[in-house]
């Protein structure tokens, strides 16, 4: 099947930059699919969209729309549309004429384009505001109108560049709901750039962009359960990293040996990744995997994050793990606790370069080098 949008081997440098903004980026978006590009600030997310839109030219690589290269095609003839972080409504036009803008460019009459625009305005639940000027709208209303205008442009692909990031939490949630409704009604192909994990979760797949490279492109649940690299795990947050070495599917460290899931194809020096919500606090005398002392208790939304300094660190340095517990769990800094690690289904490992000099790891390393010999 031909992809609606295919970015292949895109490399882009900003003038004067000492490293590429995008390095050999490949991304394929299928018709009707929504893909989120997730990454920290400065990772090249916006540049990726601007390259796709034709607002920036890459040094190498190709941009294909429905199988046809559009690298030399100007933005207005690329059959895609883009929505920026700011709504950029045209101040001299009223709401309806803003939405009708693309239709008017295509040569449709004023009344025809306004009738079509009204349908999109109704879709974003602002049917009564067609005659208002942009400056008479609230921030949320402006973004809804911008979304309606992008939809009315009827491009093959919609590129959304953090369009809801300037909105407060409530408005953002309602815009997410609106996006779901719009997808159900129109089934557009969408590339959404965001640094918000909840927003990324709206997409079928999430491409994680770090320092201009796509580290992983997968479903959001796969990212949470099986991140491919440390960078992905750190971007998602909530992972505890325990250095060690993997031998025959078993992670060895100062904490002991942990069987990894079969899907974790890692050998050698590796970080054991455990999500904080998969760890459990127990009485230190109970059958805990490890024990330690609580050094910090932080509230995080409806949960508490408990930071435990381990008695038996996995390396020859202090090690801490973060455990998520329910709000109201009686635990104080200074108290001794046990920490239970989950079974293989709750563990993951990625190749890592954090040194672990614990005797257990050294022993595993010796065994490994011996078996190689």
């Amino acid at each position: 099947m031909t992809a609606a949008l295919h970015l292949s081997s895109i490399t882009h440098w900003h003038p004067g930059g000492d490293q590429p903004t995008l390095a050999d980026v490949d991304l394929e978006v299928q018709e009707g699919e929504m893909i989120a590009v997730l990454g920290p600030s400065g990772s090249g997310k916006t540049t990726l969209l601007r390259v796709a839109a034709g607002l920036e030219r890459p040094e190498s690589g190709d941009v294909r729309l429905a199988g046809t290269s559009v690298l030399d095609v100007p933005p207005e003839r690329r059959d895609l549309t883009m929505m920026f972080q700011k709504p950029h409504l045209f101040p001299h036009l009223n709401v309806l004429d803003n939405i009708a803008f693309a239709d008017r460019l295509r040569g449709r009459s004023r009344s025809q384009s306004r009738t079509a625009a009204q349908r999109y305005l109704d879709l974003v639940h602002l049917g009564d505001l067609g005659r208002r000027r942009p400056r008479q709208l609230s921030g949320g209303q402006e973004q809804r109108v911008a979304l309606a205008r992008a939809l009315a442009a009827s491009g093959r692909v919609m590129l959304l560049d953090e369009p809801f990031s300037a909105l407060d939490t409530g408005l953002r949630t309602s815009m997410h709901q609106l996006l779901v409704e719009v997808r159900a009604a129109l089934d557009p192909t969408i590339v959404l750039v965001t640094h918000d994990l909840d927003e990324a979760g709206l997409a079928e797949r999430v491409a994680v962009l770090v320092e201009g490279r796509i580290e992983q492109c997968d479903t959001i649940s796969a990212l949470y359960t099986a991140p491919k690299t440390v960078a992905v795990a750190r971007l998602l947050g909530g992972f505890n990293e325990l250095p060690g070495i993997v031998e025959s599917g078993v992670h060895h460290s100062g904490l002991g040996a942990f069987v990894l899931p079969a899907a974790a194809h890692v050998e050698g020096i590796a970080l054991l990744l455990v999500r904080k919500e998969r760890l459990a606090l127990v009485d230190p005398e109970a059958a805990a995997t490890v024990t330690g002392r609580v050094v910090e208790v932080r509230q995080s939304g409806p949960h508490q994050n408990v930071v435990v300094e381990l008695d038996r660190p996995p390396a020859d340095r202090r090690a801490r793990v973060e455990v998520e517990v329910r709000l109201g769990t009686a635990v104080r800094p200074g108290s001794r606790v046990g920490v239970v690690l989950p079974g293989p289904e709750g563990l993951w490992a990625v190749s890592g370069h954090v040194p672990d000099h614990s005797p257990q790891t050294q022993e595993a390393r010796r065994r490994q080098s011996g078996s190689r010999l």
Binding site: A53, L55, P74, P75, E76, L80, T81, M82, F84, K86, H88, F90, P91, H92, L93, F101, A102, L105, R106, R132, R133, R135, Q136, R149, A150, A153, L159
Partner: protein, 217 residues
């Protein structure tokens, strides 16, 4: 009424028309040039904007008399007709006003508006004509008005370049005030020369206030 009769006899209607044409010609040249320069300065499209800014400001910094005298010599040598020369020189004087009015206008407009228009299907020309320029209407109207006034109200440059042959409303007023001793005529000419720009200003202010009232919820 005697003053008005004398003003009509002195050629007031022809002088008013000449001033009006001069103002319009200056506005027609200085406004688009000022809009282009203002766009480049306001949107920081130039790598080194300091030198163009100084050059564009020079006509208002230097004494108009000195500039006009210098340009007069050049014009005589080149053999350019007086009317055209006058329009060109006054356009140079109007350019700083139109440029810096448009610079302020563009500073208040986000350049990304044009990019937004492009990704909605507009060519760069359409983006400029359908989005940026209409969004800058107030600034354009102000710049046009200022350029028109430079042409309308000029005395010194018209006298130097025109050599007394191009009789505009300010020229008529100046000669009456300087030599006739006829206070009634001078007062009438002063009123006649002031009324059109005042009426234009009133109409512009009224239109702008109506527009802002209409935009209010």
């Amino acid at each position: 009424m005697r003053g008005w009769q004398e003003a009509l006899d002195a050629g007031l209607p022809a002088a008013l028309i000449r001033s009006c044409l001069l103002g319009a010609a200056v506005a027609l040249i200085a406004t688009p040039l000022g809009a282009t320069a203002g766009r480049a300065l306001g949107w920081r499209l130039l790598r080194r904007p300091a030198l163009p800014s100084v050059v564009l400001l020079a006509p208002v910094v230097l004494a108009p008399f000195a500039v006009a005298m210098g340009l007069d010599v050049v014009i005589l040598r080149l053999g350019i007709p007086e009317e055209i020369a006058l329009v060109l020189v006054l356009s140079v004087f109007a350019l700083p006003y139109t440029t810096f009015t448009m610079r302020a206008t563009y500073l208040g407009l986000d350049p990304a508006l044009e990019e937004q228009a492009r990704v909605l299907g507009a060519s760069s020309r359409q983006a400029r004509h359908r989005v940026t320029l209409p969004a800058a209407t107030t600034g354009l109207a102000t710049a046009t008005g200022l350029a028109f006034l430079v042409g309308w109200s000029d005395y010194a440059v018209t006298l130097l370049i025109g050599g007394g042959q191009i009789v505009t409303a300010p020229m008529l007023l100046g000669s009456s005030a300087a030599g006739s001793g006829n206070d009634a005529l001078t007062a009438t000419l002063a009123i006649a020369a002031s009324l059109p720009p005042l009426a234009a200003l009133a109409a512009f202010t009224y239109a702008a206030s109506r527009r802002s009232r209409a935009a209010r919820p």
